[in-house]
């Protein structure tokens, strides 16, 4: 059932795209030749990477019109749309993987979005910035102000991130919606994976971002 569909030839990959560790990690979680929907696909960086490395049949949804136009001009299959409202139009099990990369925290209804991901995809891959990271905690504790980090650079009044969560929070959501966590990886500030032997509270303290592979 999996159609092999190479949207871009490997040489179209830009050098910088092989250096985003979180994207490479996501690519590693995707089976070759799979049907993939990338929600919040931006300028198509991950879709290009997946096409080059995993030979996927990839589609994208992107909120910004400029991002959509640039993707389509590169030959990627992308529509303008909103994770909060437009996932409802897809049928059940339409994709092998539905990816929500660094976007969940900017949605209005993260719970409904995660439920939709698991409805339209056999598996969902979700990555998000971890609000439990020690820098975030110490800024709020000692600075008394909303934290700003390299990962979360915006001021409280102009950030698109309205539903930030920690790794523990996200695990709670997975439990609430009945999602099975197949894999979870936390990355430190340098983009390296934290060792699997570290307990959850350490992952939640030292992980700057996390990538989850979920299934129903």
């Amino acid at each position: 059932m999996v159609a092999v569909n190479v949207n871009v030839p490997p040489h179209a990959l830009r050098p910088a795209e092989t250096s985003r560790v979180d994207l490479l990690l996501i690519a590693d979680m995707v089976a070759p030749g799979a049907r993939v929907l990338d929600i919040g696909c931006g300028d198509g960086t991950l879709l290009r990477l997946l096409a080059a490395k995993r030979d996927v049949d990839g589609r994208g949804i992107e909120l910004s019109q400029a991002g959509v136009n640039s993707c389509v001009a590169q030959g990627l299959g992308v529509i303008q749309g909103d994770a909060d409202t437009d996932l409802a139009y897809y049928p059940d099990n339409a994709f092998d993987y539905v990816i929500l990369s660094q976007t969940l925290q900017a949605t209005y209804s993260p719970r409904q979005v995660v439920e939709q991901l698991l409805r339209i995809g056999h598996r969902a891959i979700v990555s998000f910035p971890n609000f439990g990271h020690w820098r975030v905690r110490t800024q709020l504790l000692f600075g008394g102000k909303m934290p700003r980090t390299d990962n979360l650079p915006d001021r409280w009044y102009d950030t698109p991130n309205i539903h930030l969560c920690t790794i523990k929070d996200f695990l709670g959501l997975c439990r609430d919606v009945g999602a099975k966590v197949e894999r979870a990886v936390a990355l430190n500030a340098y983009g390296s994976k934290l060792g699997v032997s570290m307990p959850l509270f350490m992952q939640n303290l030292f992980g700057e971002q996390a990538v989850f592979l979920l299934s129903r």
Partner: protein, 402 residues
């Protein structure tokens, strides 16, 4: 309205009438034994389809790009128009090195049936009477137009289409192609269109048709027999329609309230304002190249277009099982076929998990934006069509020239 000198009108008129029977295009004649079944229940035959081509069909016959023209367009996409002497309506899009590169693709545009540039229409001769059909021509639909095009490809031995694209009514044909001939359409680009003609759009068409029919020179559709032409009625129809193809902003930017060749208003009904003069010119130049009855028939075909109704009232059903790659394009300033209409099609395609791209382009040119110089539109089409070609394994154009 000021008319051109009579001799000029007659010359244009005869040049235009020549195109009906002897178009400066390639043409395929289908005999009475190959009559085309129509949605209205009648059959059309014998009939002809005139078409233009650009580029070369490859050995696999896999590089055909089919362009569908709009209501008042024709097959002259990228060549000098035989009647107006102007360049083709999409020469910015189609040609060597252009977004649809004729060094790589074989581009074809057929004149729709019901038209007046060589494909059989109401001004063609009715073999039963030896006179022009007039209103005896059967009412045709967008599906009938597409059926005739599919038969043309059958006749030419071309099994399928790499990409079918078009704007406005051309976009409706694209949707019809994708819904009816799923296995023959590899990719599809419906631009500035809708899956059904809206009530407001039907209303505008009705104004145009009434203007034509109110002209006494229309002669109940028999004007060709009488040696007449409902020029005034058709010009008014075009003037009204032309407003709907533009936008308030574009008109304001272009004309504002500027006066035409005068310093102050005249307290009369001459064309005081530049916008009036512009519209009159649009109306008059249109009647020199278009047939009044064709205008009636083709506007009707658009009115009747409702893809969901043809598929049990659910638009997604029209695309069930499709493997076609779609790219929809709409324009922010298009109030005739607003973005919402395209988005509805996108949602229907999502519902069947089709491969769909959708781009809304910011323009102020209104519905006609697809005909204008819009670099983002060129980038979109170039990117999408080339990706489709790559998927299909069609080699890049050779040579180093741009």
């Amino acid at each position: 309205m000021s008319e051109a000198p009579t001799s000029q009108v007659l010359r244009d008129h005869s040049v235009r009438l020549d195109q009906i029977a002897n178009p400066q295009s390639e043409i395929v004649h289908f005999g009475a034994d190959e009559a085309l079944p129509l949605d209205c229940g009648e059959v059309l035959g014998p009939y002809s389809v005139a078409y233009q081509t650009y580029g070369t069909l490859n050995a696999d016959k896999s590089n055909l790009v089919l362009v569908c023209h709009a209501l008042t367009g024709d097959q002259h996409v990228a060549n000098i128009h035989p009647v107006t002497g102007k360049s083709g309506w999409w020469e910015t899009m189609v040609g060597p090195g252009k977004p649809i590169d004729t060094n790589r693709f074989f581009v074809m545009c057929p004149n729709v049936i019901g038209g007046c540039m060589g494909s059989t229409g109401p001004s063609s001769i009715n073999p039963a009477t030896g006179r022009p059909y007039g209103l005896d021509f059967p009412v045709i639909t967008v599906a009938d137009m597409v059926r005739a095009q599919a038969r043309l490809l059958d006749h030419l031995g071309i099994p399928d289409v790499l990409c079918v694209l078009g704007g406005s009514m051309g976009g409706m044909q694209v949707l019809e192609w994708a819904a009816t001939y799923k296995d023959r359409v590899f990719s599809a680009v419906p631009i500035a269109c809708a899956a059904r003609h809206s009530s407001q759009n039907i209303a505008f068409h009705e104004v145009g048709r009434q203007a034509v029919m109110a002209d006494s020179d229309w002669c109940q559709g028999r004007y060709l027999d009488e040696g007449k032409s409902p020029r005034k009625g058709l010009a008014v129809a075009r003037m009204a329609a032309h407003i709907t193809y533009l936008s308030d902003d574009a008109l304001h930017r272009k004309f504002g309230r500027n006066l035409q060749d005068r310093d102050k208003i005249t307290f009369g009904f001459d064309a005081d304002f530049q916008v009036e003069s512009y519209l009159r010119h649009q109306g008059l130049s249109f009647v020199d190249r278009f047939d009044a009855n064709s205008y009636l028939y083709i506007t009707r075909a658009m009115d009747y277009f409702d893809l969901a109704a043809d598929h049990g009232g659910v638009l997604a059903n029209a695309f069930q099982g499709t493997k076609t790659r779609f790219c929809l394009v709409s324009f922010t300033s298009d109030w005739l076929f607003p973005t919402e209409e395209s988005r509805e099609i996108v949602h229907a395609l999502n519902a069947v998990a089709a491969n769909v791209s959708f781009v809304e382009l910011e323009t102020d040119g209104g519905h006609d934006s697809f005909l204008l110089h819009e670099p983002e539109l060129f980038d979109t089409i170039r990117g999408f069509v080339n990706a489709a070609a790559r998927q299909r394994g069609i080699p890049e154009a050779e040579g180093w020239l741009p």
